[in-house]
Symmetry: C2
Subunit: 280 residues, 2 copies
């Protein structure tokens, strides 16, 4: 199973602390050695970094760390290939333009027999189930909405498409248009909303500590979404199984959480990933 | 006026020597200080680096140099803003997916009153004339060809669209889909095809020399396209005014060079750029 990382904030924020723990899962503390990718929105623009080297020793990851890019929306992914050969064209996040906005998408999971008809607007360049799912979502939205609909309509449409796609298998994803971030859990997806009063936290994957109070202002609100919690000393929350959440300005603003939510244990989630042949 | 750089080869080639001279025009030997961008095709995938810092002292440019990415098709651009504010969304090269391929586009020039109707397939995200021109080309091609046409038809279609757009002003561009590279000169665009027997060359913008014989094999063929020649000790050729050339496997394979080609002097080309308010 690959690992996902997302960030959604109400002010441009440096993701380096979270990224530092996350990237170490790509080859040091965990085995996701088939490349990584990270996309930062800056205004309407996107700064996108892809690498087919393990994130733990990638010079691109070094740059990302050194550069301290501040962003309101970040989508990142460490890949352990399950479908599709390892190549740059198969490296998440995938990007397309829709309605005059760039959209980024990263997927963790495995879709069985998912070969929807190639749509009119978007075609997969690589050979992953993930890019096919992303193109299917965008083609469906564009066919239905020539112009961008209001948020409630958009959320409902993405939720319906998500339910359709997850009938094909494991479909954890994060997706953003630079304004909001959609996160969906088939199995494991955790998040935390950091806001005042800010405390301290220590990375699970590295002996690095941060005092958020020193690097934030009292109005900052930062949501970090990750496959598995990245820090100790903090209470991470979990998306329910089959929950789609929409983050905006650093917090969840919409969700289709089931009336009787089920939360999957980490052990169970990892076992499911292994059972469908997705390496963990 | 911004500076363009393109490379098209028959084998994955390191562009670092050319890029080293090129990037120094972004703030050291010339004044193109509003950011730069470079996109490398690797197979069907694209590695894209954008920066709004001058290329001469950009850490992203340092990474590009250190990383020694080998690619068969490269599109790069140093920007001096003429239309549209300086922002990441306005930084070339622009990227879109068409027919299941990524396309990269970079423009040097200035289009007057160029506000084509927003097409069905692609919309500009930023506010430049350049991105509008790119979207116009892609929208027109996609509307006419639901599937990718043969090369002759594609070249003729792009040539016709180019002629239409250049009626609005200065339209030097380079564009690639990872297989071939289209280069068009309204005014100044130079190129060189390096092949065996390889010689030595020295950068015009830096005291760096390279012996291509040491870094190539006898079968290599590498075309480098740039606004102005990058080296001494080599004979750069020039695209004629209003010529569209298609490079493939390191050489020009198609061109619509006028029957009586006109070649613009550097002085004249720079004067035209200044006259329409494009900084040089």
């Amino acid at each position: 199973m690959c690992q996902l990382l997302g960030m959604n904030c109400n002010t441009p924020t440096d993701i380096m602390f979270s990224f530092e723990g996350f990237r170490r899962r790509g080859g040091i503390t965990d085995h996701h050695a088939d490349g990584f990718g990270i996309g930062f929105f800056e205004g309407k623009g996107v700064r996108l970094f892809h690498d087919d080297k393990p994130s733990a020793d990638s010079p691109v990851a070094d740059l990302v760390r050194a550069y301290q890019i501040k962003s309101e929306n970040v989508i990142a992914h460490i890949r352990k290939a399950s479908q599709g050969q390892t190549s740059l064209a198969n490296t998440h996040p995938f990007m397309r333009e829709m309605w005059g906005e760039y959209w980024l998408f990263a997927h963790n999971g495995h879709l069985l027999d998912f070969y929807p008809e190639q749509g009119v607007f978007y075609k997969a360049v690589g050979s992953t189930d993930s890019e096919r799912a992303f193109c299917y979502i965008l083609n469906s939205l564009r066919s239905r909405f020539p112009e961008k609909p209001d948020e409630e309509t958009l959320f409902a449409a993405i939720a319906a498409l998500t339910a359709e796609i997850r009938s094909h298998g494991l479909f954890n994803f994060v997706m953003s248009n630079g304004d909001c971030l959609f996160a969906h859990a088939s199995t494991l997806l955790h998040y935390i909303v950091r806001k005042a009063p800010f405390g301290k936290a220590r990375l699970l994957d590295d002996d690095v500590m941060i005092d958020f109070a020193e690097v934030t202002t009292p109005n900052d609100k930062v949501a970090v979404i990750a496959t598995l919690p990245l820090t100790r000393d903090e209470s991470w929350l979990q998306l329910a199984v089959n929950e789609l959440a929409m983050f905006q300005h650093g917090d969840i603003v919409r969700s289709d959480k089931p009336a009787e939510p089920v939360y999957m244990s980490t052990e169970e989630g990892l076992a499911i990933a292994r059972a469908v042949g997705v390496s963990v």
